[in-house]
Structure formats: structure tokens, C-alpha cells
Symmetry: C2
Subunit: 473 residues, 2 copies
């Protein structure tokens, strides 16, 4: 753990800058003072300040020492949710996507895609994954090449259960079913509790992958506006449940994709209570929960679920490797039904990759990797945000996520994000246009920017080009 | 290829025994004569006769030389299909299965399960799989840990396309989509061409996994009786399509599970033609096609499909390793829709295992393995059949599959297969009872026996115990 002490110290200083204990423009304690205060070496203090410089929060000049430049919290306004009144809607995101140039890669040299919210290679614990895979292939037995249990590999399920400790949960291995990624977990949970034609409540804006999944399952949605600070309005949610026949809710509780909203513990608790009282299944997508920038892992709605109405879904796609396609669900009282659907859809998930992941978790490599990944992601999110502010026309709004990989940007009213995407593609840049994230036809002037790039001059130039294009509308 | 010459010679002699060129009880050519005739070493001839002895087809006694004991073709009668008139039925197989003791393993020592039609460890090319996996993990790049293309890994798709040569097909890589096993391929194809409530024509008896998949997709079935020699009656199929509103057909064309029927080329051609004329999607499950006992790979319905109405599905679960969960589909004109469903269900299949399989195919290991696997399976099927004949009461009927892993046994009318299963379980033996294979309530006195066990005294004893139990009814 000592290796990561500098990250903890940087986090402490960052919050002290954010709450004005260290005002912007005024000198921070010297390396020597800092080291004395925390009882660490000068080298560790140097690394802590270095991390904050990397994030664009400090300047360091000869003689003047370390000076806070900006806060990592709010300075531009944050984008607001759609004002479209919640109503039952058919989803047509597939139509929008089918008209869109596919963003599949591999890209030509020089092409920069801010489209996908997945980890790029420099954020993947590549050598550790390879070692664990080699270990799994060395330790392979004949049994590993037979059908795995539908619920998944026991070693991996035990490790996943232990992770619940960090979000104040207490899952046991036998509550968990391993899936081919989060999307399969969501899809199985949806199939378990809905029928085609049913209505599901989601947040607005809503990740287009979820909308597409709902669309293919022939479900309808009610999109609940999601305030950038507060998240969904529980009163409004209650009204909707009173008014309409709702089959399920599906929420990204931590660092919602695209707008980054983190639901408060109070709201999570309220939702879990509501689910029980109304006997209404709540599907929770916690795929970004491990990618927090603050000091502690956020809780989940499942944390407060005592009666099995919350169906938690997550994966290792945003933390280890999307190409592993390993996710999981803890679907509470619906476990048997979800397992039946899994068994009749693809029997079970492949064993070998589960073994490799179980090894990464058991050895502690997973947690060590995350300790490095989180500040790296935070840095990329902050630098991207700072440069959008610098290069985009004034009046735009940018989300301030406390975790995750993406920024949600509200552009001036006259900007058409779908047109902006076309113009950007001509300059070898891609972005995710707002209309993907709703079935209301809203978010016409919004874009989602993925911060999965190693920050460099080329990325900065691409943000500048985007800013110029926004200015042409 | 020279290593496998003895298998070809054994196949030749086997057909000559079957067609009475070498009558039962009369001496076969000596090793020296055989070697001279085929231009091979005496050692190779010895191995050829040895294989036929292993299959229980020859006896070898001092002085009397090698003598044909029995034919590998028909001597007991074969089980007939249900006589229930074809009609639209709701499926309730899940209910039967839910009341059944789960057959998931691992089994206590001494337990013998004839339930699952999957390869046991001794039939898996374990060392080759491990080597290919180690190679894949050595050659791993960062890109392999990103999302794979929804269609699947390009190397593997090229190799799968090349396999079509053996069944007189001409698939190209871009017609193929990689899935998590055959069941996922079938499930995606079904979702692509049906709506809940639609009716699908299947063979009777029908693999319970397919019935469960249809059930979970809320589809209904018409079960078409499948003659043990002739397979489905195309006239009857035409009548059904004229009479009912059919959304799709789903057939196991080669070595149908459970009754082993191999559709003739004429019928395959007729079905492909019918699909085109009627614009009716035909989903073809060819998961057993590679496991032929005769001299040549059988064709598929897809072989005769010129207009993309046939959706071919298969996997490597019955040839390499079920635990890899790698299957594929060539869904013809429905490729785009199937890919959309795959993308919104679990995005893509994991890359690493696809690389490992591509390596097994490219290196020729896959074909070499199959050349050894086929006679091994044939031996197990023949020995199991011979011992069922020996130990079961007279009057039973046994299928004579020309490929695959299972036997379908019709027991005397008074035997209740579900009760038989319970009695067998008390003696640490499991079997698949007939009622699983239909939604008609038929096949009450049928069982499916998997021949995936390495033949030994313990297996023989289990067959004997089963025979005794059958006699108690």
C-alpha cells in the first residue's frame, strides 16, 4: 500500500483546494513541510504534487513553489437534463445509429475517436492480464474445458462477492451469476422481469447501449430527467409509478453514462425501499462504480436492498479489459429465473477467462491496478474538461463527474450534434452525439466526450479543432 | 496424413462387412495379404484390425485369425417417432426439468452420468488446447483486450469459412458471426426471425435445449415426426406450412439429437428450395456434422442455399471444448439483424479464446484431432449399443446413428423413463428421459444415452444395472 501513499496525499490536498483551505493563487506548503506533516519522504511529497500538476490543478514555478491553479470541482455550469415531460415512448436509437458512420476501429493513423467509453490500451493492466492468462493456461485441467456451471466459476464468484465489502454490501458467492459483460447481465435481468411491450423507467440522458438493448427486447421507456447535481427526482419517480404500469426501473446509480451523476446514499436508500414497497424490480448498472475519483467507493442501491428487489449488474470491462467480456449480476429474488435464461441463451460463460480474472482479484493485482487507474482517469477527465473550456465557445456547459470515463457537454442551442459529428469525422475525429442518449429527440446540442486517451498534444489539438467546428454553427 | 491410414483401411473393411463382402463368421484376409493389398506395413494393418476389434466388430483368436462378429449397421430395430399428430403446442420442458434432479456435476466417485451429450476429458485435445491458449497469451496485444468486433475475430472467421469446403459449401468470412456457443447462435437467429407467440417447426424428438430456448423466447412449436431412417417427411412439412402460420423451421440436419437421424442430400436440397420459394427462414443446427463415422463429411441444408434463407449454426463445443463457449452462425440474409441482436445482447464474444481456436484450426491440429475423435466416438457408440442389446430386455429398439455422441432407446411400453431415471439415480447412474425431448407428452418409454464415456468395466456394469432396472417395470 505504501506505493500509493502519494495518491492519498494528493487527494487530501485536492479536497483542501476545492474547499478553499488552500486558496487559488496562494503558495502551498513546501515539500519539506508537507513531508513532515504526513510523515513521508520528500520523494513521496514530490509525487503527490506531481500528480496534481498532471491533473492541471497546480502550477510549479521556480522560486514561487507550488500554487493551486484551479479546483477540480465546478467552475463552468453543468448541463441540464431534457425538459421533455416523462411519457411512455418507443425507442428508435437503432435507427439513429444505423445512419451513423460505424465507430468500430481500427482507425487510420492520426484518427482520434472520443466515441467509446472503454479503456484504451495504456489503461489496461496488460502485463498482469497476460501473466494471469498464462497462469490459467498452465493450471488448466480437463474440467475447465467442460461446460462451466451456469452461475459461473466458483472462484470468481467468491472474489466478486468479496468486492461487495467496498460498497457496504454483503453479497455471498451463491447470489452471483457470471455473464458475458454488463450488457448481457442487463439483458438477462430485463428478460427476467419484463414482457415485450412493457415499460421501463430509465434516467435521461440514458446510455444508448441500454436504450438499444431495451429496443431489441421490444420494451418501451419513460425517461426520468436526471439533474446534474441531484440525479433523478424521487418524487417524480413516485408519481410515474403511480401513474403508469411500470415493469422495472433501470438506473446507473454511480457516475451515470453520459452525464456523470452520482446518486446520493439517501436516494439509493429511497429507491431500494420503494422497490420493496412497490414490489417493483430495480435493475442497477454499476459498471462505473469502481472508477471513483474521491477517497471512497460509492455505495450502490443494492447496498440498501434487504428483500432482493434490486438486480445489481456490473463487469470488469471498464476496469480490466472489455475484450474479456466478463460481467456479473446479483439479481436478488430473480436469480433462478435469470439463471434459467442464461442456461437457455448460451449455457454458461467460458471458464478460462474467469480463472484469469479470479487470479487477478485473488493476488491483489486488481486493487493495485485500480489505485493507479483512478487518478489517471481523473487526470484525463480534468485535462479534457479544462481544454474544452479553453477551446470551445463560451456559454457551453460541462459535466463534472466524480468518477467514470466520460464528459457530457451542452453546446450552444444552434449546434446540431449529428452535423457536428459529420464535420468532425472529416477531420478524423469522432464524438458521440447527444440524440443517441434519448428516445425523446432531445439532446440535439449535446455531445459525449470519452476521456480514454493518454493526454498529449495530438489530443489537445483534436479538442481545439472540435472547438473551432462548434464555433462554425 | 499417413498416421491415419489405418483408420481409412478400417473404414473400408467395416463397410465390406456391412455389405456382406466379408460375411459374419468367415475369416478376413491375413495381415500379410491386407498389407500387400493396400501397400502398407503389417503394423498399419494390425492397427486397422485392432480398431475394428475395439469397436466389437471383429474377433481375433489364435489360429482362426480375424473374423467379423457383427455389422456396425442395423440388427435391432430402430425407435420410431411419436405418433402424435403435428399441432401447435406450448412448450413445458422447463417444468419437467425443474422437477428433475439437476445433472451439473461434479459427481461423487463412482457416479456415472449418461445424461450430457458433451465430450468428456479423454476426448478433448487437451494438450493442444493448452498449447494454443499459451500461444494466444504470449501473442496477446492490447488490442485483443479491447472489444472484439461484433461479428467476431477475423482470423477465426476465415478458418470457419474454410471448413465449409468439407460440406460442399462456400462460405466467406464476412458471412459469419461468432457466438458464445451454438445455443446463442440459435437464440439470436430465432430472435431475428420470430416474435413471441410465433410458431416454429422442429423435428420430433427434439433436443430439450432447443425446446427450452424456444420456450424462454415464448415461441410455440409444431413437432414434425422424424423417421429413424428417412428423417422428416417433406410432404408433411409442406402440408404444415400450407396449414399454419409458420415463422421459421429449426432442424438438426446431421445426426439429430437425440435420434441420430441424418437427412439425405435430396431432403436437404428440398428444404433449401422450399425456404427460398416460401421465403421461410430455416435455422439449421449442425453441431454434430463433424462427428461422422462414415468416410465423408455430410452436407448441410446450407450447402444448397443460394438465396440466404438458411441460417446455419454450429460450434466447437462437440469437437474441441464445450467450456470455450465458441460457436458461430452464417445467417444468410439475416446477418445484419443477427449482428444487431448480438451487439445489444453482449456486444461481442471474448477475443482470447477465438485466437486460441483460430490457432488450432490454422495449424491443422483441429483436423488431426477429429480424425482420431471420430473412430473413438464410433467405438463408444457401438460398444454401448452392443451392451444395451445384451443387457436390456428383448423388444427394445436402439438408434443406429452414423455420427454424433448419443443413442436413443425405445424401451418396452410399460417403462416410465422418468421413474427409471429416479431408480437409476439411486444407483449413481443418470440418463436423459424421453419426455424431455417433446412438448407432446410423448416418449414416455424412451431414454437418451450419451456415449461420451471411455469404455471400461464400470461403464459396462452401469449399462447392466440399467438393463436390470428396465426389467423391473
Amino acid at each position: 500500500m505504501k506505493d500509493f501513499q502519494y495518491i492519498d496525499i494528493a487527494n487530501r490536498i485536492e479536497s483542501m483546494i476545492n474547499n478553499d483551505t488552500y486558496p487559488l493563487g496562494e503558495k502551498l506548503p513546501s515539500l519539506r513541510v508537507l513531508s513532515g506533516h504526513f510523515g513521508v519522504s520528500v520523494g513521496t511529497s514530490l509525487k503527490a504534487y506531481g500528480l496534481l500538476i498532471d491533473k492541471g490543478l497546480l502550477s510549479s514555478r521556480e522560486k514561487s513553489g507550488y500554487v493551486p491553479l484551479r479546483k477540480s470541482t465546478a467552475h463552468t455550469a453543468q448541463p441540464v437534463a431534457t425538459t421533455a415531460a416523462p411519457a411512455i415512448r418507443e425507442i428508435n436509437v437503432s435507427r439513429i445509429i444505423s445512419k451513423m458512420p460505424v465507430d468500430a476501429g481500427p482507425y487510420p493513423p492520426g484518427f482520434l475517436s472520443f466515441f467509446n467509453a472503454s479503456l484504451e490500451t495504456h489503461m489496461i493492466p496488460f502485463n498482469a492480464v497476460r501473466r494471469s492468462l498464462q497462469k490459467a493456461s498452465r493450471d488448466l485441467t480437463g474440467a475447465h474445458l467442460q461446460y462451466e456451471s451456469t452461475l459461473g466459476n466458483q472462484l470468481l464468484r467468491e472474489q466478486i462477492a468479496r468486492l461487495s465489502f467496498y460498497w457496504n454490501g454483503s453479497l455471498s458467492a451463491n447470489e452471483i451469476l457470471v455473464t458475458n459483460g454488463t450488457l448481457e447481465a442487463l439483458s438477462l435481468c430485463l428478460r427476467a422481469v419484463t414482457q415485450p411491450g412493457d415499460t421501463v423507467v430509465v434516467e435521461s440522458p440514458c446510455y444508448y447501449g441500454i436504450l438499444q438493448c431495451l429496443e431489441q427486447l421490444q420494451l418501451k421507456v419513460i425517461e426520468l430527467p436526471c439533474d446534474p447535481q441531484e440525479g433523478i427526482d424521487t418524487g417524480q419517480l413516485e408519481d410515474i409509478i403511480d401513474t403508469y404500469d411500470i415493469a422495472a426501473c433501470l438506473f446507473i446509480s454511480n457516475f451515470n453514462n453520459p452525464n456523470g451523476v452520482l446518486l446520493s446514499d439517501e436516494k439509493k436508500k429511497w429507491i431500494a425501499e420503494m422497490a420493496r414497497k412497490r414490489q417493483l424490480p430495480v435493475i442497477e448498472d454499476d459498471v462505473y462504480g469502481e472508477l471513483y475519483f474521491g477517497p471512497a467507493r460509492p455505495t450502490t442501491i443494492k447496498t440498501y436492498d434487504k428483500h432482493g428487489w434490486v438486480m445489481l449488474c456490473a463487469s470488469f470491462s471498464k476496469t480490466v479489459a472489455s475484450g474479456y467480456r466478463i460481467g456479473w449480476s446479483a439479481p436478488g429474488r430473480f436469480l433462478e429465473k435469470v439463471a434459467q435464461l442464461k442456461a437457455t441463451t448460451n449455457v454458461a460463460t467460458a471458464t478460462v477467462l474467469q480463472l484469469s480474472l479470479a487470479d487477478l482479484l485473488t493476488s491483489g493485482t486488481y486493487q493495485r491496478h485500480l489505485r493507479k487507474l483512478r487518478p489517471l482517469l481523473h487526470k484525463q477527465v480534468l485535462l479534457t474538461s479544462q481544454h474544452i473550456e479553453q477551446y470551445f465557445p463560451s456559454g457551453i456547459k460541462i459535466s463534472q463527474p466524480e468518477g467514470g470515463i466520460v464528459l457530457w457537454v451542452e453546446l450552444p442551442k444552434q449546434v446540431d450534434a449529428l452535423k457536428l459529428q459529420k464535420l468532425a469525422l472529416e477531420q478524423d475525429i469522432n464524438i458521440a452525439p447527444g440524440p443517441l442518449f434519448s428516445s425523446t429527440g432531445g439532446y440535439r446540442n449535446y455531445i459525449r466526450i470519452s476521456c480514454n486517451k493518454q493526454w498529449n498534444r495530438q489530443v489537445e489539438q483534436a479538442i481545439r479543432k472540435l472547438g473551432k467546428l462548434v464555433g462554425t454553427f
